[in-house]
Amino acid sequence: MSTARRAMAIYRSPLHPHHGHSKARCVKVLRRLSAYLDDELSVGICKEIRKHLGACPNCEEFVASLRQTVSLCGHVNPAPLSPAFKARLRTQILQAAGRG
């Protein structure tokens, strides 16, 4: 079974009834989810997407998981360099540039 067919089967699964929605609509929503999360879409399109999400539990879960992903990315805070390493690195850079 092709990927698209399997996807369609999942979207139509009795576990997640998908009354009145086609997989094509889910894919259309999926294509716009980042723009939706970033608030870049018109009021009309947002309303359409919200309507679809309300009726499609799979897409609702999907958008929540994408929102979580973006939010996690935005909160990663790597450890800073130590002052000693910064000083060492500065010396190395100036040496490499012929100013050591």
């Binding site: 990927t3 999926l30 935005g74």
Partner: protein
């Protein structure tokens, strides 16, 4: 790109020139090294690579400083140098292959794929990231991204730049930036969905948060 960063390598006159270039460099380094190191850590799979990237970036910045005209923000100019340096870096074992991501590959094909399998429910992102496994899973998902997608995700979603700024740094129009960003996010989401992490973060807090 308005800023001139072409001085890399060839512009040894700058490095050898007299005057206040070391002083100017010191100010640049002092004000931006933390930002560039943070960017480097987000881009690189390994700590040593991140440090190499910082060194390359500031060496090129030193050489190009004289040519910097100030018509771009200095942080954007540095991100441009750092981004080019990161693209040049040889792909190490953790780096994803340089392939195009297609939207079709992100359509879930089984029930479990719609939600994240990592336990973040009821937690703020900060709390979730205190869990070492979640932090590692996210980092691994990001470094697995093909580089041109990783660069967009890091600059936009982690460094917090606008799509326009990312486009200016990467030489892309905003539409292309948004398209790559969407695929990059879907990729990371799928990785986090595919990776099950046992237990609840509250139970694993003692794993530390460094």
């Amino acid at each position: 790109m308005k800023s001139r960063t072409q001085g890399h390598g060839a512009d040894t006159q700058t490095a050898a020139g007299s005057g206040n270039d070391v002083e100017a460099f010191d100010q640049l380094y002092r004000e931006h090294v933390d930002r560039i190191y943070r960017f480097a850590q987000r881009m690189c799979g390994q700590e040593d690579d991140a440090k190499d990237l910082v060194q390359d970036t500031f060496l090129n910045a030193y050489r190009g400083l004289k040519n910097f005209r100030g018509d771009a923000q200095i942080s954007t100019w540095l991100y441009t140098i750092a981004s080019r340096a990161s693209i040049r870096m040889r792909r190490k074992r953790k780096g994803g292959p340089e392939r195009e991501l297609s939207l079709d590959e992100f359509i879930p094909t089984s029930e479990g794929e719609f939600r994240l399998q990592i336990p973040t429910e009821g937690l703020t992102p900060q709390e979730a990231l205190e869990n070492k496994e979640i932090r590692r899973a996210l980092h691994q998902a990001i470094v697995k991204l093909p580089k041109k997608y990783r660069l967009v995700l890091v600059l936009r979603d982690m460094e917090g730049l606008t799509a326009r700024e990312v486009g200016s740094i990467m030489g892309l129009n905003e539409r292309a930036v948004k398209s790559r960003l969407h695929r990059a996010r879907l990729f990371v989401r799928r990785e986090l969905s595919a990776r099950g992490i046992a237990g609840h973060p509250h139970l694993a807090r003692t794993t530390g948060s460094t």
